[in-house]
Point group: C2
Chain length 409, copies 2
């Protein structure tokens, strides 16, 4: 795990990513869609799973999303097949056929029902999938499935990411144990409401599909939907969770202590993955955590988080380690939230830089220090009420421009 | 004039900027707020003017905005005083006093009433104005006022702009002549709804304040409010127009042919200034015009213009001259507009790249050519209806990051 998970007495960080929960296998292989890197991943459960998913709000939805959505109808799921390097988006009827074919090929290779396989893609838009390469890659990945394959799978879903995003936790509540694992990819087109972001989660708890869906929505709302890299919401975003019930005693029923622990653990896993995505935003050198408190409503708090974390000017100032709090206040001003600058306080790290409508005479060296690490916290206290929200973004750098000026060519 | 004004038979481009209309003088001087460049400008009318203004929608409003707004009460106006290098924003009670003092100093130097002077500032946020320097600069500028001072004034309002923005046109309708001139500054924090953008307009037509206000709103709505550089709406944006009636026969009454000509001329001046601001966006190498047609409603057309022109991914792709139409379609998808990708057509320049839900097999060299000039047009035809909208932005480059990573320090 690349960042520290804050554990409680019942939740412990463990090794293993997506295959940390019992009964899950995974693999990632190079099928030749990308030049050299792994580009096909399969996650497989030895037992039938409940599944839930959340999808991009973009009106242009990639073909694999449409196929996966129609399969999340409460029936059992056994596997997810993912390719990177090609988004299979804006590919018309052929794209839909290809997405279905991907799932069929995977189902055949695994010996499961065709409707039991979910499918996802990420990469360049508007180019048909190279189905021969994909077919060969799926066969290869199916043969390579193992508990040790989690990291390969995490590699296989990456695009411009510089590193894998993997987390796993174990929960021990009243003598019952279950695990939640996950892997994700960013790293451009990342914006609240599911950017080009794929996240796959697994658990060996037993959770009914409706409750799983409810839990997933609640967790995504305060984690993946609170990150932004560049404000662009992609056509391919997807978060999926599979629950295989391999830990038979871990039946998660609404309203129980077990459900509360499951909820906390799921949120923790999603938070860590979301932060890893923001920290690995295209060209990023710093993770920025934006905390808003003292808002009149949660909606206001979220509006300010989104405006500050979405501001190119704030993001470039953090890159330059420039304590330009004026841009933070300016973004707060156009966020649409109800507030009065006269009651607002702004902090960079622990350094108070603005209070009651005017700047504080802060120590520039101290403020610079607050901006100099690989992780920076900006806090805006609106002084209006009790509501709060937190979100994550990264700095905006030369490399963001470099990566995106010639992605396609 | 740095870009070509499209003239009609009655509207002609003329030299002279803000002092092209009769009875206006201007000056720009170096007062020492900025290290070397001019930083104080005055625009003065020999006769009392009607005036109208539009202001930032940011909830954090700089002190000079508050002062100028309260003076636009229908009473006569004689001058505008502007400083660059310091925004006088987030400066509390002292900021308000300073803004009023700036106007008073200017009124005294010009021998006009204090309430007859409007005031504007642009630059860094949260630092009190250096009032001694400003006082000396105002005296110097007042002494330097001349018809030839328009370019100096246009220089005096710049911040990170690389060039002045000046336009003037003359209208000849049924033997009546009037002129409209203008100057503006960008170039970061530029976003629909008045970004860090100042624009000052003058006319020697006679226009009642209410009608002037109406005309200004209509023109700004389709020009300055349709440009974006980085999505940040500043605390200091302001567009002001002064009408001095020096051309006594040019009385602009609602519903007349003269009013129609005034309306066209004002929109033309605002369009040219808006395009100059977008083209000179921080770090920009290209002006991008985004045209949306075939929308169901004008609101939808504007939503798509704003999403496409606000997309960092579209802007970096244009910088890289990469025909990445997928990002255009993706931005259209998250714009919030009603549309169906199956009916959408996308053009880069004249090259059709996407039609009916799938990419067109276009000539890459031709598409690259469409992106290679200093001015690029993107057209999205939604195929849904008759509504359309146009907006402007610039490409996102290394230099944007460079300029903004250390603006304050």
């Amino acid at each position: 795990m690349s960042t520290a998970v804050k554990v409680s007495e019942e939740i412990h960080a463990i090794e293993g990513g997506i295959t940390a929960p019992r009964g899950f296998l995974a693999a990632g292989v190079h099928a030749g869609i990308k030049r050299q890197k792994k580009d096909i991943a399969i996650v497989y459960s030895e037992r039938p799973c409940s599944a839930a998913g959340m999808f991009t709000t973009n009106r242009v939805k990639a073909a694999p999303l449409l196929v996966t959505k129609e399969r999340l109808n409460g029936g059992p799921i056994r596997a997810i097949v993912v390719n990177s390097g090609n988004a299979n988006a804006c590919t018309g009827e052929r794209g839909l056929e290809d997405a279905r074919a991907m799932a069929s090929l995977c189902a055949r290779a695994l010996g499961v029902g065709e409707a039991e396989v979910l499918v996802a893609s990420t990469g360049v838009i508007g180019v048909p999938l190279p189905m021969e390469k994909i077919a060969a890659g799926i066969d290869q990945a199916a043969r390579a499935l193992s508990v040790e394959g989690a990291h390969d799978a995490a590699l296989g879903i990456l695009t411009t990411d510089t590193r894998t995003k993997e987390v796993a936790v174990q929960c021990d509540v009243d003598g019952v144990t279950f695990r939640i694992g996950g892997m994700a990819k960013g790293s451009g087109m990342i914006h609240p409401n599911m950017a080009t972001m794929l996240a796959f989660l697994s658990t060996d708890a037993a959770v009914a599909p409706e409750f799983l869906d409810e839990q997933l929505r609640a967790a995504v709302d305060v984690t993946f939907n609170m990150i932004t890299v560049d404000g662009d919401t992609s056509t391919n975003d997807m978060v999926l969770i599979l629950a295989n019930g391999a830990e038979e005693r871990a039946r998660i029923e609404p309203g129980t202590p077990l459900a509360a622990a499951f909820s906390r653990a799921l949120r923790l896993v999603c938070t860590e993955l979301a932060k890893m995505i923001a920290a690995d935003g295209e060209g990023a050198t710093k993770l920025i955590e934006v905390r808003v408190r003292g808002a009149r409503t949660e909606r206001d708090a979220r509006l300010v988080v989104k405006a500050v974390s979405g501001s190119s000017l704030v993001k470039t100032a953090v890159y330059g380690e420039d304590a330009n709090w004026g841009r933070i206040l300016c973004a707060t001003g156009y966020s649409g939230a109800e507030f009065d600058p006269e009651r607002t306080t702004v902090y960079l790290g622990d350094v108070k830089v603005f209070e009651h409508g005017v700047p504080v005479a802060f120590d520039e060296a101290e403020a610079k220090r607050a901006l100099s690490g690989s992780s920076v916290t900006i806090t805006v206290d609106l002084g209006e009420g009790e509501a709060e929200a937190t979100g994550w973004t990264c700095d905006l750098t030369y490399d963001y421009v470099k990566i995106n000026a010639s992605y396609r060519t």
